[in-house]
């Protein structure tokens, strides 16, 4: 089972050679690769039997160091509209372009390719230090450590209030790719921003690819990040994500994820509330069909006092799709007065689809509040009858019930245009309608109106940091 990918030590050495990396770093990679080979799919006793990557077939997929410079015209057109917005664009998993409007550049917002780090001793150390803790107890995160060669490092200066969502877009146009990205985001004290990350693929991709991403986020004191993620891959792309956010004092992270596309999607989100008063919010919406697999884990790690977390997962499964919703509230000894809520609910739309919710609690302090709820239920026949008695067809009834099942979570998304996008994707998927690539991207109102963004519209500096 360990031959998920056709990779050997030689591939790693080749990678190290291309990047001109220091030797110790190559050894780091080789060690991570050993770990990958030895690790089971899940290490926690609660989940050891619960993983699902069935259907993933990467025997033809390869690491690819070449870069195709021609952008599909629909994508090029969209990027032109993003001119005034900070964005990072990946083509086939390779970092293609970074756009930082001058205004933001002057104020200290920086985004660079991690390739600028890999060949330099001190800078790799800097990168690895950001992570604070190793993530190589996860099989795929370890594989990513062994092979990552693309990614970005983003720094949001203290006090910056970014008013326009920063965009991260990845478009896959080729088949048989093995891509390993590692991304780093540091949000300075009192800074506040929203990021919209979107993954799409298009074209006739007959053979499978793997897009693996490790995302490391640090929120400094009182920083706030709202992170939207949309998985809109077509059928032959497997997406494996390990993301971890470390929250310092009073910082707050909120993830809003829509898992709609792809074949196998495995995501682990670790929210580490490291210092007092930090909060995390994790909203996950899953709509599966055909043979899609979703293997999602949310960790709510309360390390300090007065930390608060909420994780809400809702999935609807049709066709022969399957989902595993795993979640763990972990309250450390010193996390007095912390408050955690974890909910994982699945709705099965037809026979053949399946879901399992497995919430867990590990609590080392008594003065806390931790609650969870989980359910897996068939779509309610009586509700369908009720709607049909009002004239709706069976298909329409199921659609309305599915949409309403997601409604409460969608209502929590803070960006109206993202809400609309989620709804549009859900409805078209339920109606078996494919959205053409040019209409897939989230269009925020700035882009719709194609306005030139002035400094006032783009960002503001927190009063504490005004010059």
């Amino acid at each position: 089972m360990n031959n998920i990918v056709e990779i050997s030590e030689e591939s790693i050495k080749e990678l190290a050679y291309i990047s001109n990396e220091p030797k110790w770093f190559t050894n780091y990679r080789l060690l991570a690769f050993e770990k990958f080979k030895k690790l089971p799919f899940e290490t926690s006793p609660l989940y050891v039997k619960h993983y699902d990557i069935s259907g993933m077939d990467l025997k033809n997929a390869k690491l690819d160091f070449t870069m195709d410079k021609t952008l599909p015209s629909v994508v090029e057109d969209f990027l032109k509209r993003l001119n005034y917005v900070p964005y990072i664009f990946f083509l086939d998993g390779r970092l293609y372009s970074i756009n930082i409007p001058d205004l933001l550049n002057k104020e200290g917002l920086s985004i660079e390719s991690i390739k600028n780090f890999l060949g330099k001793e001190e800078r790799i150390k800097e990168l690895l230090k950001i992570r604070q803790i190793e993530n190589d107890d996860d099989k795929f995160a370890a594989l990513n450590n062994a092979l990552f060669h693309e990614g970005f490092y983003m720094y949001i200066p203290a006090g910056m209030q970014l008013k326009v969502p920063l965009r991260i877009i990845n478009v896959v146009t080729k088949e048989n790719i093995l891509s390993f990205n590692q991304n780093f985001i540091i949000v300075g004290a009192d800074a506040n921003l929203a990021i919209i990350e979107e993954d799409y693929s298009f074209g006739n991709l007959n053979s499978q690819s793997l897009m693996s991403k490790n995302l490391n986020v640090i929120l400094r004191e009182n920083a706030k990040l709202e992170y939207v993620y949309i998985n809109g891959y077509e059928e032959n792309v497997n997406g494996i994500i390990f993301r971890r956010c470390i929250c310092e004092k009073d910082a707050s992270i909120a993830w809003y994820s829509g898992f709609f596309g792809g074949l196998v999607t495995r995501v682990k989100t670790d929210n580490r509330m490291h210092s007092q008063g930090s909060t995390s919010n994790n909203i996950e919406i899953i709509l599966g069909e055909k043979k899609q697999r979703f293997d999602l884990t949310a960790y709510l790690s309360h390390i300090a006092t007065y930390t608060k977390s909420v994780s809400l997962t809702r999935g609807a499964l049709k066709g022969e799709s399957r989902a595993l919703f795993k979640g763990m509230i972990k309250i450390y000894e010193n996390a007095k007065n912390s408050d955690a809520y974890l909910a994982e609910h699945a709705m099965i739309l037809n026979k053949g689809a399946r879901a399992d919710s497995i919430p867990g609690l590990e609590i080392a302090n008594n003065e806390v509040r931790a609650t969870h709820s989980a359910s897996v239920a068939q779509i309610d026949e009586e509700q369908i009858f009720y709607l049909m008695s009002r004239g709706l067809s069976e298909q329409e009834s199921k659609k309305l019930l599915t949409v309403s099942f997601f409604q409460q979570l969608i209502d929590q998304i803070p960006i109206e245009d993202v809400k609309t996008k989620f709804m549009e994707v859900i409805e078209s998927k339920l109606d078996n309608i494919k959205i053409p690539i040019e209409n897939k991207f989230v269009l925020t109102h700035e882009l719709k109106e194609a306005i030139v963004i002035t400094p006032e519209k783009l960002f503001q500096t927190h009063y504490k940091y005004r010059k």
């Binding site: 009586e382 009858f385 049909m388 008695s389 009002r390 709706l392 067809s393 069976e394 309305l400 109606d431």
Partner: protein, 262 residues
């Protein structure tokens, strides 16, 4: 034009057990029929069988609208032919607002082939007008505007559920409405308001089938016909005076009368 709902020699089974036998009824638009009977006599089963609930198997007989059988039709198609059922225990639909339900329903009933497919149909419906009409009907049933955006039956009191069912009837304007124990869960003032509402909405155009196990609502809505359902059979039919007699003497009186006839 008068439409006719006919139930002929209907036999119904649930999970292999016969629960209705030899039911014959004819309801014309504009008429009010009451079906009375003790608990467990099969009243709700009859209403669900007419609406086409998949659990209820018709083993014999027929249900027709204007002479055409509707047995082969799914509930949505029956609704499109003009049938409406207000459930005894209305189901809650978390996440679906009353307005969105009614809008979806009106789209489906107005243009069944295109419902859900065609965005133009959705947009062609005068949303504001529907909203206004909904508010008026809510007021008619003694409910405030906030119900427009509340999730259907979610956290409603028993009486509010029954009232919003009648609001739905008002919006849908069916040919035939089966109201299953609309009076239960309502206090006496509620019954008055709801009865007036029903009469005003039906306006002698809808064929009403009121299912009840006591006479209360029939004091406000005088039926043209009363049918008594006991143990899955209609054992007596008559005018409104039958309901009064039942109240006085109870269902056993009819059962005894029945036995004497045998």
């Amino acid at each position: 034009m008068i439409d006719v709902l006919t139930i002929e020699n209907l036999h119904v089974e649930v999970e292999g057990k016969e629960i209705l036998r030899n039911i014959n009824l004819e309801i014309k638009t504009g008429e009010i029929h009451a079906i009375m009977g003790p608990n467990g006599s099969g009243k709700s089963s009859l209403s669900l069988a007419i609406m086409g609930h998949p659990k209820y198997k018709i083993t014999k007989g027929d249900i027709k609208i204007n002479g055409e059988s509707i047995l082969g039709l799914t509930p949505d198609k029956r609704a499109q032919r003009g049938l409406f059922l207000s459930l005894q225990y209305p189901i809650s639909l978390p996440g679906v607002t009353l307005f969105s339900l009614i809008r979806a329903s009106l789209i489906a009933l107005k243009n069944p082939q295109e419902a859900g497919q065609n965005i133009q149909v959705k947009e062609a419906l005068p949303v504001l007008k529907i909203r206004q009409e909904l508010i008026e009907n809510l007021k008619l049933l003694g409910l405030n505007e906030s119900f427009v955006n509340r999730y259907v039956n979610e956290g409603f009191s028993g009486g509010e559920k029954k009232r919003t069912e009648i609001v739905q009837m008002a919006m849908i304007k069916p040919k035939f409405a089966i109201l299953d124990e609309t009076d239960s869960g309502l206090d006496i003032d509620g019954i008055k308001i709801v009865s007036n509402g029903i009469l005003q909405i039906a306006n002698k155009k809808i064929g009403l089938i009121l299912i009840t196990h006591y006479n209360r609502i029939l004091k406000f809505i005088r039926p043209d016909y009363v049918h008594v359902l006991v143990d899955g059979q209609i054992i007596d039919s008559g005018g409104p005076e039958l309901a009064d007699k039942l109240e006085e003497k109870g269902y056993n009186w009819l059962k005894e009368k029945d036995f004497q006839q045998i």
